[in-house]
């Protein structure tokens, strides 16, 4: 920000993936029109998916995916040591994501089912912050490129990073969608953090809460809503558990 009398050096960045679908990394390559400008902000030191160059002198590590094997723990710890700032991006990194559904089954049973008698290394799914300290989280499945861009710009300009504190309904209403509860569905929009521009509900698909709970949600009232509308509690639980973002609320069986 030359005009204010200070400037910033390019961000030395590394992007790393653990157990996930790599969809979040893929978002970094989207938004084609602003892509060259976006890459201009960054000095990519390590990004296996798009470049063969690898260096360990990055300031910011973008970490995608959850942790499901011992070698991943070690790799993550090294990354944490090298990086000044560690950003968990994507619901897998921030909450465990869909991978966590595995934790609903006994591990050995899961292995037997898929791999028979072959021995397969695997651990219960953990989110990044269960293993190392996370400086910032960008949730979403996948993350929205706009938000990643905004946050990278914030880091580049030395701004404070914040996510919307309000729920998805705000954005959903701004897109003039018909509320899915009016269509007889259970939608997690009222308790899920906004910032996705209500993509799912705008496609008439209920929100499954990939961005995790908004600030200070009123869960008892939400539960009341579901029961008042005579909607299925099982379905609610299935939705709350989908991305593993509502752990603390899901088991509140009251």
């Amino acid at each position: 920000m030359q005009h204010l009398g200070f400037s910033h050096t390019k961000l030395k960045i590394g992007s790393f993936d653990f157990t996930c679908c790599e969809g979040c990394q893929l978002q970094l390559a989207n938004h084609e029109s602003s892509l060259p400008a976006f890459l201009e902000l960054l000095d990519i030191r390590n990004f296996r998916e798009i470049s063969s160059e690898r260096h360990d002198d990055y300031d910011i590590a973008l970490v995608e995916g959850s942790i499901t094997r011992q070698d991943e723990v070690e790799r993550l710890e090294t990354i944490r040591k090298n990086a000044k700032v560690l950003v968990a991006y994507g619901s897998c990194a921030c909450f465990g994501g869909v991978n966590s559904l595995k934790n609903n089954f006994p591990l050995d049973q899961a292995v037997r089912e898929v791999y028979g008698d072959k021995s397969v290394d695997t651990l219960p799914v953990r989110k990044i912050s269960d293993v190392v300290k996370v400086d910032y989280s960008i949730p979403g499945c996948p993350v929205s490129k706009e938000e990643v861009e905004r946050i990278i710009v914030s880091i580049a300009t030395g701004s404070i990073i914040s996510l919307p504190k309000y729920p998805v309904c705000v954005e959903c209403k701004q897109r003039l969608n018909t509320c899915l509860f009016d269509l007889g569905e259970i939608c997690l929009g009222p308790i899920t953090r906004a910032g996705c521009d209500a993509v799912c509900t705008s496609g008439k698909t209920p929100c499954l809460g990939c961005r995790g709970p908004a600030d200070d949600i009123n869960f008892p009232s939400f539960k009341q809503l579901v029961s008042d509308l005579k909607l299925s509690r099982d379905e609610l639980d299935e939705k709350l558990g989908f991305y593993n973002c509502f752990e603390e609320f899901r088991h509140d069986k009251s």
């Binding site: 902000l41 300009t157 309000y166 908004a214």
Partner: protein, 359 residues
């Protein structure tokens, strides 16, 4: 105001000509809800057949045509050691068709808030001046309470208002532009019979209201009931979702944020409509929140709507459309909240004790 009569087929021709030539928005059916009822919204239309003239109510109001949910108030362009601020007040002319009397009143209220006083909003003015409004009357829905707010009729704020008198519309023409357009179509002067029909129609509308909200003396109630337990009661239900404010035709609170461009060569100062129900509405640096509880925030929405804020001449800004009540998932609606407040107040009057002490 000039009054004319136009037959319904001729009216359709008129509207068709208008919408084919202008960017126009009118009620359209967008969904069918779980009870089989159609859901309407103001959407872009390109011919008269797109328009649902017999619509009940749109889920969202038309305010965002005048006051977008998100807009850039100004832009900064950074140069080497300096910057430049650019502001444009531009609006594409639009036609809004089918606004109800209360919707038009809401626009007038927004005019008052945003154009009066020391700091009028040029952005709003640019849009407002380029908006051509055609209003239409309707029979109230069971939960409309605009009559209680005295907004079931409207005399101002539109270009043309159409009252349904059977085979024809009774037109109130409030602008020369509208009058000039209509000259190209078959319109006639109202006969005595038409006048009678209009009066009948108005009477019918007036007597069709099923929901009454007693608002006399409400401002002073609200003033006294600031610490009433009912705010906690309703606040406990509120999901802080902001839906009510988004669909409301008069909620206008907002948030400002600077959004630097990805190439860092400029930045937009973005305004986003907000809601006093959202958690960080009154949060300041150091994480201090002036309204930490749901009830505090909910209360403020009611204060703003029914007590009025000093800057807008203490005007009540609710027009009684009940869009907020219909949209609220927690089943919070003005009628119930106000009645509750009134009961609370009246029970206090009976025992002659003051409202509960503030904590």
């Amino acid at each position: 105001m000039i009054y004319k009569i136009i037959t319904k087929p001729e009216f359709r021709k008129f509207i068709d000509a208008l919408v084919r030539q202008n960017l126009s928005y009118a009620p359209k059916e967008v969904d069918v809800d779980k009870n089989g009822e159609p859901v309407y919204q103001f959407k872009e239309v390109s011919s008269v057949s797109d328009i649902a003239f017999d619509y009940s109510v749109t889920a969202s109001s038309a305010k965002h045509f005048l006051m977008p949910f998100k807009e850039d108030l100004s832009r900064f362009t950074f140069t080497d050691k300096d910057w430049q601020q650019d502001i444009t007040y531009e609006a594409q002319p639009i036609v809004l068709i089918g606004l109800r009397a209360c919707d038009i009143s809401a626009v007038t209220i927004l005019d008052n808030v945003l154009l009066n006083g020391q700091f009028p909003s040029p952005h709003y003015l640019a849009r407002r001046k380029n908006t051509f409004i055609i209003g239409m009357d309707h029979l109230p829905l069971p939960d409309c309470f605009c009559k209680s707010m005295n907004h079931h009729t409207v005399n101002d704020g539109f270009n043309l208002f159409c009252s349904d008198i059977g085979d024809s519309y009774y037109l109130s023409i409030n602008s020369s532009k509208a009058f000039n357009y209509l000259k190209e179509f078959e319109i006639s002067d109202p006969t005595d019979e038409d006048d009678c029909k209009l009066i009948e129609r108005r009477k019918l509308i007036k007597h069709s209201f099923k929901t009454e909200v007693e608002v006399t003396g409400l401002p002073s109630f609200l003033d006294i009931e600031f610490d009433s337990p009912i705010w906690t009661k309703w606040g406990d239900k509120c999901l802080n979702c902001g839906t009510c404010a988004m669909v409301c035709p008069t909620c206008y609170c907002y948030n400002m944020e600077d959004r630097p461009d990805t190439d860092l060569k400029g930045s937009a100062r973005q305004k986003q409509l907000y809601s006093c129900n959202l958690v960080d509405f009154a949060e300041v640096a150091g994480e201090h929140n002036f309204r930490p509880k749901n009830g505090d925030r909910l209360k403020y929405r009611y204060y703003h709507h029914y007590l009025g804020f000093a800057e807008n001449a203490n005007q009540q800004i609710c027009v009684g459309c009940n869009r907020c009540g219909r949209a609220c998932l927690a089943d919070i609606n003005p009628k119930d909240v106000i009645n509750d407040l009134r009961m609370e107040k009246e029970s206090c009057m009976i025992c002659a004790s003051p409202s509960p002490p503030r904590t």
